[in-house]
Symmetry: C2
Subunit: 406 residues, 2 copies
């Protein structure tokens, strides 16, 4: 790793023109000068000048991985291999998931640990710092080589300030200065904070193979329910940064009272805890021997265990899962009519529950959305599974690594 550590530190302030070129390479991977000219609309001379400066300042490097088209391979422009890094941090309600990646987004090291966000920001962020330091030590990378840290948190974030606003499951985190606390140990790094579902959507956007200007909704179903929205190939955060807060949309006006004070919220009726509650009810009422057995074996019933029972053919478990899927699908049907996305991606803990869940969502959406909006609509589980968050956190770090001059 010593050779990497000796490579030059890149200039991190870019002009607007330079940022266009860097962003293209971040989005599409290494590109030739001709490809950059075509994609940017800049002249060949302008590309040559910009690329020359970016090579001199160690922002870009020549990489040899172009496809040969008969003659010699084209020299492509990418990011310098090694030497400079970003960190992605996915803070879940009960776990931390981290990765160290180079400027091309290639992960060089991962780390994970249980953690409880209810312990408050300093214990959790101290643990995050420790895990980052462990990854750096294991790879022989100096802390000042970390140029950006992207952090996803399970609560509403004011993106411009990086502060949490009234997070329901994160006591003590409200308005806590995450950025400056992290910067104490990594002074060379820009720190960017976003909501967990937004970074999952970003992870799918960068890791997926949809068209560049696509519109999709990433739905996280776990302890709560939230959505990350991608509009024309960009994460859309709304006017005050709280777009995608679909967990408190009314799923049933005759439903139970939610902790938010309203009645029949989707989250209260269809998220993980609701699935577990219905399963416990089925056991108490003697309706499901399979669930009773799982409860005895594990001491508790989770949504995932209800999925196990359903996979074993338990009718009660199946029905509970289908009801959750139908409620989510009914709400998504309304959003499909409004937003006309090309994909809906279902992720989060409950998405490990099996295909009955996805099928129930699909059926409800198709039953209530207009044919024009569902003709090309795909509804699928996240292909990144549990990694959407940490991959999205790396993408967030990469997107905000450079300062663009006004």
């Amino acid at each position: 790793m010593a050779d990497h550590a000796q490579s030059a530190a890149p200039r991190l302030t870019l002009s607007a023109d330079e940022a266009v070129i860097v962003r293209l390479i971040q989005m599409r991977g290494p590109l030739s000068r001709a490809q950059l000219a075509e994609a940017s609309g800049y002249s060949r001379a302008k590309i040559a000048a910009i690329v020359g400066r970016l090579l001199d300042d160690a922002v870009l490097a020549e990489v040899v991985e172009g496809e040969s088209s008969g003659g010699r391979r084209p020299r492509l422009l990418g990011f310098p291999a090694g030497g400079n890094y970003v960190v992605g941090v996915d803070i879940g309600a009960t776990s931390l998931d981290l990765a160290l990646a180079d400027f091309a987004g290639q992960i060089v090291r991962r780390a994970a640990a249980p953690a409880d966000v209810r312990d408050g920001p300093e214990p959790v962020l101290t643990q995050v710092k420790g895990l980052i330091r462990e990854m750096l030590e294991a790879t022989g990378i100096a802390a000042e080589r970390v140029h950006s840290i992207g952090i996803g948190v399970p609560g509403p974030v004011e993106f411009s300030s990086g502060l949490l606003i009234a997070p329901p499951i994160m006591p003590g985190w409200e308005a806590y200065p995450i950025r400056s606390y992290m910067a104490q140990d990594f002074p060379a790094a820009r720190v960017v904070v976003d909501n967990d579902v937004n970074i999952m959507a970003l992870g799918e956007l960068r890791g997926g193979d949809g068209p560049e200007d696509e519109n999709f909704i990433f739905v996280k179903v776990g302890t709560g329910i939230g959505a990350g929205i991608v509009c024309q190939g960009q994460v859309y955060r709304g006017s005050t940064g709280c777009a995608g807060d679909i967990g408190h949309i009314c799923a049933d006006p005759d439903g139970p009272i939610c902790h938010c004070g309203n009645v029949g919220c989707l989250e209260a009726m269809a998220a993980g805890p609701a699935i577990a509650r219905l399963a416990r009810q089925a056991v108490q009422e003697g309706r499901s021997p399979a669930l009773a057995q799982l409860l005895e074996a594990h001491g508790t019933l989770t949504a995932e265990l209800v999925g196990v029972a359903a996979a074993q053919g338990d009718a009660q478990a199946m029905q509970i899962i289908q009801q959750s899927g139908r409620l989510i699908g009914d709400v998504l049907a309304a959003l499909v009519n409004f937003y006309n996305p090309n994909r809906i991606i279902i992720g989060g803990g409950v998405s490990n529950i099996g295909f009955h869940f996805l099928n129930a969502i699909r059926r409800a959406v198709l039953a209530r959305s207009l044919p024009l909006s569902t003709r090309h609509l795909q509804i699928q589980y996240s292909t990144l599974k549990g990694d959407a968050g940490v991959i999205g956190a790396i993408a967030l770090a990469l997107e905000h690594m450079f300062v663009i001059e006004a």
Copy 2:
């Protein structure tokens, strides 16, 4: 008008750089060279070169309307006064509303007539052509001076082709080639077709005073209910062009069957015809002398007449209007949680019904949306009233007047 008619025809094909400058002037009105440099990020030299070419080719003109800041007035760049025009056409279910405007969007002549879209495309478009010709004759403008025609229609449009797709209230219009039919008589004009609610949203965007990157939802409540979505200062049409089709979102799972085959669609329960139906019921059941009187006087009951009865203090009329507003507000509450807009604008025929309606919508949205999303949310009637469509059609024509080179 002879002097105007003699001014040069502008070049209508622009390079990407030129298009940036022209778009800035279209969006903000006349600007100085310094303002153009600042807004575009281009150098003063580049601005001078681009502006020089656009002046030579009659795309732009020097206009004298800058504010004097002590010394001489700055020379601003705007569009040539007169000589070149666009037409906006708002085709409603039962009416046509047209305007002839110059390149700065100033309306020079208007025309309107009753028309029934159910008569099919050729009779209606022939009438549109006749009204355009009348406007041109009245102003002494030659047909070849019309460079763009923007048309709004009350049905779903595939924006890229300008074709209607399965329009529910426009028999015979499906896939009818509106563009080429119009081009027969106005060969110099580009013809652009969009959904009526999208052009209303565009009218509000261009005619309103919101921030340039704002996110809003324009809701048209008339015979049907539809929404036009503005995302970051642009009309958002969705992945297959049918975003905003909120009329068939489920407002009540126990509601009546809609013509679309589903149950409890918002449109079936809260649009103009539903309001009129509930009013007739109230008369039949002897619950409202005020509505009975209006029915006798007018031979029919419309949503507008229900508004008249409510203004007179009739409790039944008030209740019908409030119920419609509440149902619309409940659906909008879900969309606010999802989309986090800064404004909701209510327009269409039913928006003339009085403030009880708007208040019921506001109450329902505030009751069911999250505090973070409603903190800065404005819910208001369209200030353009019946003109949103035709003003939006002009804006559509202006935005698509120029061909931008790839």
